[in-house]
Structures are given as C-alpha cells and as structure tokens.
Symmetry: C2
Subunit: 116 residues, 2 copies
C-alpha cells in the first residue's frame, strides 16, 4: 500500500474477518497466496491489506460492487471458499462497505504529511 | 465478536491501517488497551476487530457518522492520536465506510450456519 496513491473515493471495501479452526491447516497458506495473486488481476481490484493474530482481518478494495460480485463468483475463488468452509474456518464475517471518507498520515525524512 | 449478533445494516466501519516505526514503542500497548476500553463506552460504539502482523488493521464499528466524529474528537483519544503521530506510527490510513451488506459463516457442533 503506497499511501500516496490512495484510490479516489467513493470505492468499496470488503472486510473479511475470520477465525481458523484448531485442526489441519495444510494447504491454507498456499491457497491464501494464490487467492491474493488471483484477486490482484481481477478487473476493478484496487489493493488489499491483511493481518492475523488470534483473528484474521483481510480488507480488499474494489472500484465497484460489480467487481466484488465477479470476484465472489470466480471459479477458483469459489473452490477456495468451499475449502475454507469445509476445512479452515471456525467462523468468518464478510462485510461489503462503501468507502466514503479517508485520510492518511506519513512520517518521512522527519516530515509529517497528513492527507485528507 | 459474536457472529450471531451482527449489527443491523446500515452502520459504519472505520478501517485503521497502520505501520509502526522501528523505534521506541514504550507505552504503546497500554495506550492501545486504554483506547479500546474508552471506545467501547462511547455512544454509538458497536464492536471492534483488530490484528497485527507486519501491518496492523483495526476496524471499529459505529451506529452513525456522528458517533465516529465524537470519538475522533474525544480529548483522551486526541492525546493518543498525537502520541501516535509523534512516536509510534510510520504511517496510517483511516477510511470511514458505510457497511451496506454482510454475511457470516459459523461451524458449530458439526453444523454449518450461513447467515445473510
């Protein structure tokens, strides 16, 4: 994420919050990497941010709701979603949101930049 | 987050994405805990989700934009924001979003529940 190039609002965010099962996670990391790569080449994809501690949060950003719909229905992604339900996730929540406002802060060479 | 009790849409999400500096983080964890506790008692607060790996993602959920505005202007929170800029963050991005759709999946006693 280069904060100098935030997308122009309004755009869309998909907040994917998840808790993994305590069981077998074989194949999870490889599948996650594959889905990140595949999402990145979809029409309307903007960027993605992800972090996991006890829970995982992945936020992907998209130009339009249509782009989100097409990504959800992508065949390889559908297979990954099935595996997620069968094997990997205890629970997950998906929220589709319209990004209405944004601002950023950056520290660089001793300078503080705040962009609205 | 109890997924059986997702807030009623529409509501608001504040996505706070951050990278910490490599310098002194003294006081950060205590301040973060304090801010989580303080946010939770603000009018209009719904819930919060957080995870940090290389980057941190904290998403707080609110009933209204007004509730978000009041939280941003809370005096103790303003002091925390100042310390964040001075000491702790290399960069951060704040996005204010309207949650328009949501669904969840939960595995329980061998049962799969998907709620739209």
């Amino acid at each position: 994420m280069k904060i100098n190039s935030l997308p122009v609002i309004p755009y869309y965010a998909v907040i994917f919050t998840s808790l993994k099962t305590s069981m077998d996670h074989e194949g999870y990391a490889a599948m996650a990497d594959k889905m990140f790569s595949l999402a990145a080449i979809q029409p309307g994809f903007l960027c993605v941010e992800t972090a996991r501690e006890s829970m995982g949060i992945t936020v992907s950003y998209w130009e339009s709701e249509e782009a989100i719909f097409h990504w959800k229905e992508n065949l390889e992604h559908l297979m990954a979603q099935e595996l997620g339900i069968e094997k990997w996730y205890e629970y997950y929540i998906v929220r589709v949101c319209k990004v209405e406002r944004q601002y950023s802060f950056q520290k660089e060479n001793g300078l503080h930049t705040i962009k609205e």
